[in-house]
Point group: C2
Chain length 572, copies 2
């Protein structure tokens, strides 16, 4: 949707000599440069703002009757795949909430499909009412203790930039131990990023002191993992741009905001990181963050700056984040600065959304070029857990309710296998690489019977299954495979809910409302089986992420994250 | 002097595992990200900052006893040639005042020598304790009503970037009427700048309303010509970065500063534009601006931000403008934040200045590659002003004391030629192009006898001579030519003062103190001849600048700047 600025076309409009395509009069413009609200007319030509001031000539003249005009909102860090929506469905859902650009890290799909996944995201996000700035994933796979479909090294980074040269950054450098300890492969990526003039995005939960200094010295420029004010202040002082996160899983806004003031807000932006489709539909997106900030007593104008000009400057996004001559006519209309209810959204001068509805016609891109990515070995009889001779005790993953962290527990084999609060867990390699199947035990998932299976399992997205009996687990696994990816809830030999995610096993080609309903049905079905976790499939998807302590199961086996190595399940 | 960051070298120092090259302990660090003063040790390795915090290992450990540590100061817009110093002499004079980088527009030398002048500035500024970011001049020559030595069009811009690829910008687009009126050659340059990812620097004195909107829409991103608060606010609102100017000629700081607050200061920087050698030596450079700002009641920390991180961000100068890991170790030590007296300056971790003295050994670059640029026609008998038959009245340039603006006056021929307050003026083409000689009259210069000549005459720098008699004028012109450029004061057949500026007729290869003394002697000599203007040679140099109203003399004749055309001197 993004055409180049044509100054010859803007010039006579700016000079007040010829008609704007669109003239918005009687607006109260949020001026992100001065922090003021300025009454003005905004003249738009060819998708760009020609002038802000005393204009009167327009093909189409819209009287805003004193409504507020904001620059289009920018999410400074998001994984689109977490919404289970394609870029198009995401855009159609987000634009009515005022979002016109996102900085997106597609590391989920790249873990599955490598550069084919990157190409899909780039290609499928053309011509949409939201502009996607794709960042090149830096940590695919996240560790060498799991089997991913894709693999990103220096060669792939260069290829990714050939496909999408406007990429602003190497996406979140999650392997901070690798940076701090000077791991060669990590240093090579960092060097390459510096050479290629890419920003390096950070991800440094809880890092401080010497280690944080080293991470900063490497050029890691931002952080979206701050959960406390102390952590935020230390990172601000060391030069990190802070992306304050308020998503579906992690919500850090209200903790951090009291630290933010006129002296440091220009180093901060807002991001959602992960956003579920139901939350997008009910709460909103960046508008929700603004609303929440303002409700907490934070200045509306500074909040708007943090969702517009601040990320635009950090990511050097040209002509974005402000309402001024030469900037893109990405404009959001709200009638007050308290509840920030988005009324209309203009994308490059065209009305893209009105009263919560996207007005842009759908494309027919769908899942073009994406074939089924779920290739699993024969699981029949392979999901049965048998204690080897001589095993006395067994390592069990224990869920901590409400947290992504897990605890590493050991139990006697006898107790574990007979404890009704302990479920069976399986991870099946699904990229057609090696047919690995790993088994484990998880305590606290809450199932009384049946099984859940999902092809969304961070970060390498193998097939993960939790269940009480082998039959349910096997049928759930086969159901997900049959759908080419997705999520299923099975009770005995009955599939009681299923959501197909045929795009890399991560995303649905359907609109957000359908996906949200499908996902809600899955959760209701899980609840019927006795699971009362707040987000059963999210919890399941994190059980295989071997970078968050303490114990995880990948297709290669149990990972003790604190030791950062594979460990035996059975202890003799 | 600028080597690349080597993270492998920084890493163990940042991690507190190995010794810094230099450790500054007990410092109060100005944190430009948070606006705080933070007590910390700063560890430097390989010219970069490895860590800021609780460090104790260093080859060399310096105790700052609570002194303040500032990032190296950055001048956001300067013409080095106006100091009459070469880049080296400038750097040696500026670094003791805390300057470690400048954004410089070499349009004076490029008007004389074209790309040879550009290359000279680039080559002669290597390995100095100040880093020079050269911007490609956009308006050479300033008009087509004068003869310059150089000429910059799109081809030359590309060649300039081949010579100095790190150039951040197309320098000040002074031809704002060309932008606003859509002059083709100007639009082509603007398009090229956008294509080549160059910032476009602005210069828009007094521009407002529609015209200012058009100038902004073209992508002109900054302005250093603001003289009032109203003008500054309008430009800020339209997205211009404001470079608040406090130089030798124009001093706008105290007028504009009361407008600047926490909401808008991050859009502002400081610049000197033109700085005379005597002022550099006596008042200082960026330290002088900070001092003046603080004296006026402005926050020292915000002022420091405006001289460090703000220009670094605007010009996307990597690793500059802050004291943080991964940043260049360009550091300034001052013992208090009131009089901002610079004690020591570290350039990339090496002590470059102490107690006002530059400690870096001089280079031997001198004026390598620059041959004499003053090639004039035979002036004998050519400077005599004779009224043509039938001429009744004559146009006279009238000086307005204390201003660069002139008035266009008409007088009867008889009165003009007999008025002792009217001097003769001549401009002699000196680039060896066409041997033009143009004559005129100027009222209010104040000479009672003798003549002044100079090869510094904005912007095409032809030879300009003002005088009371033809002999003095001729001898002054020949003296300047003989020196290969410079300034001379002549009384009859006696040269009573002269300063050689053999580098393009603009700069001296001597140190600042010599140049300042030489220039002072010229002024004293001019005063002896009766001229009591505050800066006779500066006034003279602007009499040929055909972009500032109302009447000017170039080698092609009299220019009525309001009509923007050549006009006849004589009116019949």
């Amino acid at each position: 949707m993004h055409t180049q600025l044509n100054f010859e076309e803007l010039r006579p409009v700016a000079c007040g000599e010829s008609k704007a395509d669109l003239l918005l009069v009687n607006s109260q413009v949020i001026n992100v440069f001065t922090g003021e609200i300025v009454k003005a007319a905004v003249a738009v030509k060819g998708g760009y703002i020609a002038g802000v001031g005393d204009y009167s000539l327009g093909q189409e003249i819209i009287d805003l009757h004193g409504s507020f005009l904001l620059p289009g909102l920018i999410d400074s860090h998001i994984h689109i795949e977490s919404s289970m929506l394609t870029p198009e469905a995401f855009a159609r859902t987000a634009v009515p909430h005022g979002t016109t650009a996102v900085l997106a890290d597609p590391h989920e799909i790249v873990n599955v499909l490598g550069l084919d996944g990157w190409r899909y995201m780039v290609d499928s996000s053309q011509g949409l009412p939201v502009d996607f700035f794709w960042q090149v994933p830096s940590c695919v796979p996240a560790t060498n203790m799991e089997t991913s479909g894709g693999n990103i090294g220096p060669t792939e980074v260069k290829q990714a930039l050939d496909i999408f040269p406007q990429s602003p950054a190497l996406a979140e450098m999650m392997n901070y131990p690798g940076v701090i300890n000077g791991q060669e492969s990590v240093l090579n990526l960092i060097k390459l990023a510096h050479q290629m003039n890419l920003l390096i995005e950070g991800h440094a939960p809880g890092l401080q002191g010497y280690a944080l200094n080293a991470y900063a010295a490497a050029g890691c420029s931002s952080d979206h993992e701050c959960t406390t004010r102390e952590e935020t202040l230390e990172k601000l002082r060391l030069g990190f741009r802070i992306l304050i996160r308020e998503g579906s899983a992690a919500r850090n806004l209200l903790e951090i905001l009291p630290l933010i003031n006129l002296n440091n807000y220009h180093r901060c932006s807002f991001c959602s990181d992960d956003r579920h489709p139901a939350h997008l539909l009910t709460e909103g997106h960046m508008d929700h963050i603004l609303r929440k900030a303002v409700c907490s007593g934070f200045s509306a104008i500074q909040a708007i700056q943090m969702a517009t000009i601040n990320p635009a400057l950090h990511y050097q996004l040209k002509a974005r984040g402000a309402i001024a001559p030469g900037y893109l006519a990405d404009l959001v209309i709200v009638d007050n600065l308290k509840d920030i209810t988005v009324q209309q959204v203009y994308k490059q001068g065209r009305l893209a959304a009105c009263d919560g509805k996207c007005l842009v016609a759908p494309t027919t891109f769908g899942n073009a070029g994406i074939s089924s990515s779920v290739i699993i070995p024969n699981v029949e009889g392979q999901l049965r857990l048998i204690a080897p001779h001589g095993a006395q005790r067994v390592r069990v993953i224990e869920i901590i309710p409400g947290q992504i962290l897990t605890r590493s527990e050991t139990m006697s084999v006898q107790a574990a296998l007979n404890d009704p609060t302990v479920s069976k867990l399986a991870v099946v390699e699904r990229h057609g690489r090696n047919g690995n199947i790993a088994l484990g035990l998880v305590k606290g998932f809450g199932l009384q019977r049946g099984a859940l299976a999902s092809s969304v399992a961070h970060d390498s997205h193998n097939l993960i299954i939790v269940g009480q009996d082998e039959t349910s687990m096997q049928i759930a696994a086969l159901k997900v495979a049959e759908m080419g990816g997705g999520m299923a809830v099975v009770d005995g030999d009955q599939v009681i809910a299923a959501l197909a995610l045929p795009v890399a096993g991560l995303m649905s080609p359907c609109p957000a409302a359908e996906v949200a309903t499908g996902h809600e049905n899955l959760e209701l079905a899980a609840y019927k089986l006795g699971c009362h976790l707040p987000a059963p499939f999210m919890t399941l998807s994190f059980l295989s992420l071997p970078v968050i302590p303490e114990l995880r199961l990948t297709d290669q086996g149990l990972v003790d994250v604190n030791l950062f190595k594979l460990v035996d399940m059975w202890i003799s």
